[in-house]
Amino acid sequence: MVIGGGVNGVGVARDATMRGLRVALFERNDLAFGASGNSSGMIHGGARYLVDDPAVTETSCRDSGHIQSIAPHLLFRIPFLFPIERSSHSRVMLTLVDAFFQAYDEYQPLKRGKPHARLKADELHQLEPGLRGDLEGGVSFDEWGIDGARLCTANALDAKERGAKIYLGTTIEHIERREDGRVVAVCYRDLRNGRTGKIGTSAVVNATGAWAPITAALSGLPAHTARVRPGKGIHIAYDRRLTNYAIAARTIDGRQIFIEPWQNMTVVGTTDDDYYGNLDDVVANAEEVRYLVQGIARVFPAITAARPIYTWAGVRPTLHAYGKLEDKLSRDHQIIDHAKHGTRGMWSMIGGKLASYRLFAEEMTDVLGRYFGLPAECHTHRTHLPGGDEVIDPFALAERLAVDAVAARRLVYRHGSRARRIEERILEAPREASVVCPCEPVLEAEVRHAVVEEMARSVDDVSRRTRLGLGACGGMRCAARCGQIVAEERGLPPSVGRDLAMRFLVRQSRTRACALGPEQARQEALAIATMRSELGVDAVELDAQAESEPR
């Protein structure tokens, strides 16, 4: 029984299923709803651990290489610039940084990365003219980007297709133990219709990230037996690619932040603050936005005139330790066997990264294998994720479907060879080639595919899987239609579809409001007028947590 549909949970579900275990996964919200879908979207090699913990760097790089070979369609290269401002010690600094990345170069081949380059100030300016004037020099280095939600979806799909049961929108409320402490069952509740039930099990994996202490407590153990230090991080998305290089910068308190080109937009991130609020409703606020923008503006001043279109926030399940600053805490992972707390057959997975999820899952499944006396070996690094087996030519696809080349390219990015399945839908029902979200763009067939094949149940879910509604219009052009399609596919009345659309629109608006700039503010006022005119603000209580489906 796996609890949590983040990258660690789906990773274990996949691995355990492949090794012949019978697996059920429960996710309280949606796949990638937590940290996994709200990260910086980088499969980095863990360069920051190079000094304290080079083993982490090595495993990160090696596993990054594995992810690349099992899901090549999901990765894209993000070259970084690391500029150094001129100061009394900047020359020493540059030498140190250069040496540091020289050490990192050793691991780069593991993840097919390019070696770093030491750059003079004018070379930096040539590469990125938006960089601020007075620089000593800097280095370039190489990382990979990934869409965390797609990574989770691919793993969950694979597990499901191999026989795992996946329950989304279903929370675990209680973990039952026998007298002797052995886990025997979990009790769940479907959060949409309130239905409850109980399923027998002999092993429970708590992969609930920042929720882990809450989950551990469901079995009657004290929460601190699966303690995490919850570190909230936010990101700001801008409407286009402002740079072609990611740029590392520093905040006023010396923390490292970045601006990165990510898919069709630019992302600024990230903060790291202890967070004790509601984990099911984490949003960025204006203070966090200003703190980041101020830091980026020092190296990339044009950021203050750019157009932010939304923000997102997640909570890192960092390993708990007293005394260190949040930033210094290791992102390394750890498996807690709760046998030592008197509960047998339950483990908590704490920490981890997108980059090393597969390895973490492998370690966890090894533990399960030993527990069940199962000899089977791990194959997850050699078996393609769904869509990773074959490269599809987007231009040929565009031609066959008579759709935009951009639309086809995006399809291939998200689905790899599984884009074929969407193609099949369109060949069967040519009307499904029509565009639902013009910003991304997303075709009707992909929306239906997300509902039928990828377990999406709401507009929010479709958006997580397809990036629908994440353009500058905030979903005003597509949410209503997407809601109708979701409702239709799920056999629900259109009014439910409309409520799903409203919930998405309202939730997205909350993520934008804290980062408004001049242009987006006007767009926002237009969006409000549009929503009033077409849907009405009173159609749904504007509370993102409100239940919208009939019990």
Partner: protein
């Protein structure tokens, strides 16, 4: 003759011009850039329709047309709207989102489903991002049933797109093609067989916002088919607003009001006459000014956070992040309710206040210039969305425009 200068040519500006003219003033209107009225989707309310329906629902009242002043009615009609008789049921227009909503008056091309009772409303398929006949029919069927409206909606395969590029073209481009008689003949020709199958007295036709750009062509099609024909309401990038611009030009020409293209940058209210400076053109003088520059959506109010474009050093000074799109000494732009200064460099916390909730408009809808009556500063009157805390609706803009136009013309006489 006294001169009144109106800044802004949306519903409020046009109404102000007409009213000032009626008072005998010489009137000029500056500004033709896109505002709320030129992206307006065609429904006309006094208070937001969702609020109206919520209030009516609470007391179980029927949705009927209130009595409208003759001057307002004439003006709405001149601007291309259909205005029902007082006491009749409110029109129900279909939004492309699948909602059926009431409205007081509406652009003539919009289809009132209340007029289609007992009929089958045909909704043709078209492969366009903004038009999904299938989901629209499902949603509208549920909405009609909820309202107890006796109409049947049906998807049909009748061709409405003629050329392949129309799958991707903007609504306005398709609308413009329907300004050509030949295209309308083509449409009538293509649709007739399908309609005749259902029966002329039993069918109605709901299309996207495509029926004419220079002016609406739904009435003509209605006549030729002999049944109700009209558009659905599309609130993003609507074509109705472009038709408004056409109707506006005709009306102002009829009234003898000059429409000057340009952007006002400053109103100087010091001297005997007011001076209005324009970007890239000579300043204009007037005895009174009407500020009808629209709200945040229309461009009359500008949001500029203190740190915007400030460079690495950050904000220069603490100031309100909202201001008018032109300089006017003595004016105050505020989010009513948060009018007091706030203890932040950055103004009110928009993260919490920007969006509306049921029965509570959001800050971005409320923000505007503070007036006493219609007056901002002596001889400068304001109307429409630019005024703080007024509902952002066409009828309010029109009404306040008439009042401000009159006020401006009279303030001159009194002076």
């Amino acid at each position: 003759m006294k001169r009144v200068l109106v800044i802004g040519a949306g519903f409020a500006g046009v109404a102000a011009a007409v009213a000032a003219r009626a008072e005998g003033a010489e009137v000029r209107v500056v500004g033709t850039a896109v505002g709320a009225s030129s992206s307006w989707p065609g429904a006309c309310d006094d208070e937001p329709w969702d609020e109206r329906e919520r209030a009516a629902g609470l007391v179980g009242a029927a949705l009927v047309m209130p009595d409208i002043d003759a001057e307002e009615r004439a003006l709405l009609e001149a601007l291309g709207l259909h205005v029902p008789e007082g006491g009749s049921p409110l029109p129900l227009v279909a939004a492309t989102s699948g909602r059926l909503r009431s409205t007081l008056a509406h652009d003539r091309a919009l289809l009132d489903l209340g007029r289609c009772e007992g009929r089958v409303v045909l909704v043709p398929r078209a492969s366009r991002a903004s038009w999904d006949a299938d989901t629209l029919v499902l949603a509208l069927t549920e909405e009609a049933a909820r309202r107890g409206l006796d109409v049947e909606l049906a998807v049909c395969e009748l061709p409405v797109l003629r050329y392949d590029d129309e799958r991707r073209a903007h609504d306005a481009d398709i609308a413009a093609r329907h300004d050509e008689a030949a295209r309308r003949d083509w449409l009538v020709e293509r649709l007739r067989p399908g309609i005749e199958r259902v029966g002329r007295d039993q069918a109605a036709l709901l299309l996207g916002p495509w029926l004419g750009l220079v002016r609406e062509r739904a009435s003509e099609l209605e006549e030729r088919f002999g049944l109700p024909v009209g558009e659905a309401l599309a609130a993003t990038a609507s074509t109705v607003g472009i038709r408004f611009e056409g109707a506006r030009a005709a009306l102002l020409a009829r009234e003898g009001v000059a429409l000057v293209e340009g952007k006002a940058t400053r109103v100087l209210a010091g001297g005997r006459r007011l001076r209005v400076e324009l970007a890239g053109a000579d300043a204009l003088e007037a005895d009174a000014v009407v500020l009808a520059t629209g709200g945040l959506a229309g461009g009359g109010i500008v949001y500029q956070p203190t740190e915007y474009a400030a460079g690495p050093e950050g904000a220069e000074a603490s100031r309100s992040p909202f201001r008018l799109s032109l300089e006017l000494a003595g004016s105050l732009v505020a989010v009513e309710g948060a009018r007091r200064s706030v203890g932040s460099m950055f103004g009110p916390d928009l993260g919490a206040l920007a969006w509306p909730r049921p029965a509570a408009p959001g800050a971005l809808e409320r923000v505007g210039v503070i007036t006493r009556g219609t007056e901002v500063v002596p001889r400068v009157h304001a109307a429409g969305d630019v005024v703080a805390a007024e509902p952002r609706t066409v009828l309010r803009a029109l009404r306040s425009g008439l009042a401000a136009g009159r006020g401006a013309a009279r303030s001159v006489v009194e002076a």
